[in-house]
């Protein structure tokens, strides 16, 4: 007796008949032939009356040929693995072996191999697939402006460099608190600063300025979001720039100890040498020379250069030699 089932059973050449104590038969023509052979085979195999109990075995599917047997060499592989999927031995036509071999054996074959399933595979990212993907992504890309081909031109037109880091990892949360940190780097030579402004901004920033590379680095991490930190860094740069141009009343009280570099004018060294030369002249001959003329003479200028160099730069052999020569010239030795 043929009974209609409520469900539609799709046939892909295999029949999936649930036989848990309920005999379901399908009466449509396409299913009939396969079903009848299965049923007869099943009934013959179960002579000991197992077929009708509540725990009767599911009928075994007939094993088909693996899909790899029907694959041609010219097939479109991107259709077989369009996205990241685990390794399927029946879908990959390669004779891959993976695993540690037993004694006097070879690595196990791909069928039923867990090692091949565990490792991430790149079967969906073959060169052909990458080319296809990039063809689709091309419209969303823009070209780099051809006039900015080297770094120097880039620095000249865009002197400020903003660095930030993104983090991608698997875990309970997508967020990474280190992603909010923003570094802002700018060369002071590219900013519009005069002498006073430059000295003032260097004093204001302190450790953030590197004298060797002339780079000011502002690192902001006090705000919770990257955009906020970026805005804060830009604000700091703006404020520093404007403040360095202002001249406050108390800046007039700058003493010699506050100076960044040594200047020879009105220094004890100048007073000493002028004094010395005047006394020498008085002791020798009696020609009283003007201070200004003494200052303008070549030897005193050389002495001034050598002393300034010694004080400003680190003491080196060449600078001390230069000082020695200058002193000898002043005293005509």
């Amino acid at each position: 007796m043929a009974t209609h089932t409520g469900k539609v059973i799709l046939s892909l050449g295999r029949i999936n008949v649930v036989g848990l104590g309920v005999k379901t038969t399908v009466s449509s023509v396409t299913y009939a032939t396969a079903l009848s052979t299965n049923r007869s085979a099943r009934n013959e195999g179960r002579l000991d009356g197992q077929g009708k109990g509540p725990f009767s075995r599911k009928p075994k599917r007939l094993a088909k040929e693996p899909r790899t047997a029907e694959m041609s060499v010219e097939q479109d592989w991107t259709a077989v693995y369009p996205s990241a999927k685990p390794f399927r031995p029946n879908a990959v036509p390669l004779p891959v072996r993976m695993g540690y071999p037993v004694k006097r054996g070879v690595p196990p074959e791909k069928k039923g191999n867990l090692e091949l399933i565990k490792i991430p595979n790149f079967l969906h990212l073959t060169p052909a697939a990458i080319k296809k993907h990039c063809q689709a992504l091309k419209p969303f890309c823009t070209e780099w402006p051809s006039a900015l081909d080297n770094d120097d031109k880039c620095d000249e037109h865009f002197p400020i460099k903003v660095t930030s880091t993104d983090y991608v990892s698997a875990g309970p949360s997508v967020r990474n608190p280190s992603a909010r940190i923003v570094h802002l780097k700018v060369k002071l030579s590219s900013l519009n600063l005069d002498d006073h402004a430059r000295k003032k901004i260097v004093k204001l920033v302190g450790e953030r300025y590197c004298k060797r590379t002339d780079m000011l680095t502002i690192t902001t991490n006090s705000c919770p979001l990257r955009k906020q930190n970026y805005d804060y860094a830009m604000y700091l740069l703006t404020v520093l720039y404007h403040e360095s141009w202002k001249i406050e009343a108390w800046e007039a009280e700058k003493t010699v100890a506050d100076m960044e570099e040594y200047s020879w004018e009105d220094s004890p060294s100048q007073k000493n040498i002028i004094d010395l030369l005047l006394r020498l002249k008085v002791a020798e001959g009696g020609e009283v020379e003007e201070e200004q003329e003494l200052l303008k003479s070549g030897e005193v200028q050389e002495y001034k250069d050598s002393v300034t160099r010694l004080k400003n730069e680190a003491a080196s052999e060449s600078s001390t030699l230069q000082y020695k020569e200058a002193v000898k010239k002043v005293f005509n030795l």
Partner: protein, 167 residues
């Protein structure tokens, strides 16, 4: 006062690149049905907002398995070449091994220990001279195809200008 505007000082027009805005739905349709892409109207909108410029984009990938990183490097470099991005350097920083020594037994037997180690392999791909649109498209593509068990850090150096303060 510190936003970038269109730049009057650069006379070449090519600089004023416009930002491509990608509506989220469109990205899924391109990979499966090529024919649909041709027939639907263009889903790319072009805005007047000036594009950001990245002087350097550095991608550092970390994994416990060196072979996976080899394959990933192949994929990322091929994708960059296809999209026309200049790759300045691809190198392998030395691996880091974290070692741990624990007691082998749950109770006493202090002299018998067991040692574990965690190896982290690195690979660094440095790209230079990217625009904001290209960087966004490339990074999204490369990050969506990150395999399981691989972590990535992307460091971007963006070049900007403050017109009011430059000489």
């Amino acid at each position: 006062m510190y936003f970038q505007g269109p730049k009057p000082c650069l006379s070449h027009t090519k600089y004023n690149v416009t930002r491509c805005h990608l509506p989220l739905k469109a990205s899924t349709s391109y990979f499966h049905t090529a024919t649909v892409f041709k027939s639907t109207p263009s889903l790319i909108t072009v805005t007047e907002e000036p594009d950001t410029l990245f002087q350097k984009v550095s991608i550092l990938v970390k994994c416990h398995d060196r072979a996976v990183l080899d394959s990933y490097e192949l994929f990322a470099t091929m994708a960059a070449n296809e999209l026309g991005i200049t790759i300045s350097k691809v190198y392998e920083p030395p691996k880091a091994i974290d070692r741990l020594t624990l007691l082998k037994s749950i109770h006493i037997f202090k002299k018998h220990r067991v040692q574990y180690e965690m190896r982290t392999h690195y690979r660094c791909i440095e790209l230079s001279h990217l625009t904001g649109c290209t960087a966004q498209a490339y990074l999204e593509y490369v990050q969506r195809n990150l395999p399981e068990g691989v972590a990535m850090e992307v460091t971007k150096v963006q070049s900007t200008a403050l017109l009011t303060y430059s000489k």
